[in-house]
Symmetry: C2
Subunit: 143 residues, 2 copies
């Protein structure tokens, strides 16, 4: 240790050094463990209003429903893990919000071209994200 | 022009070169001009169910409403540009979905700690993103 690092007897006490294993302070305005994103991050995600025009059980996956969607002048298929919460019949006609530009992926032989948004609650409950105006035009961007 | 650039009379016709201003082919499953994102991109965005517990006109911005939100055991303020579409009174009690971890920003003196989701339609219409179950618990993640 050099003389420069040795505190003089009358120097103020050094600031306490946090223990290395101390958890970072939680921001009370954010969910636990979550950090900020910026608007550019959000802009990469395209959220779109869609109407469910057809719904049926996925033939090879107990938890999935296969949905045909209308999004303005486009139509496409997604698969959603909501079969424990909704029957196909009650889904038809609903407005939902989809992550429209999520890379397609194949789920047991059926391609999902996006992902619907849903909220999870306590006790294994689930609610679909929708609009407060049931007949709102589809295809519009959500931001 | 050099001799090398002059096609021989019996050479096969060169492949057509796309015009430099030709637009890239549009993927019919995506909105115009939009490219894919992946799940990591989506995971940076934290969407949370919130209840509007208080709403008032922003004192210094004609288009903004100041909202106090409950998100489970947290509360916070956001500002939303929806004053042309909703009165403060009709907003109180509604469930909305917010980009919970968007960097805070100050809007004419009031800090907005996130952004609510809304859909725009034709003819300057707007609908709020909400849940299909009006009394669903707040604070839960949307994914």
């Amino acid at each position: 240790m050099t003389a420069d690092n040795t505190p003089a007897a009358d120097a103020p006490a050094p600031a306490p050094v946090p223990a290395e294993d101390a958890a970072p302070a939680q921001n009370p305005l954010l969910p636990e463990g979550v950090t900020y994103c910026n608007f550019d991050d959000f802009s990469k995600i395209r959220l779109t209003v869609a109407e469910i025009i057809q719904a049926e059980a996925h033939p090879k996956a107990d938890k999935l429903i296969k949905l045909q969607l209308r999004l303005g002048d486009r139509e496409k298929q997604i698969c959603a893990g909501i079969r424990a919460y909704y029957t196909p019949e009650e889904l038809v006609g609903k407005r939902i919000i989809v992550v429209d530009n999520l890379e397609p992926r194949k789920l047991r032989g059926e391609t999902s071209h996006g992902m619907l948004l849903a909220a999870r609650g306590p006790d294994d409950t689930l609610a679909l994200v929708t609009l407060d105006k049931p007949d709102f035009p589809t295809g519009g961007q959500v931001s």
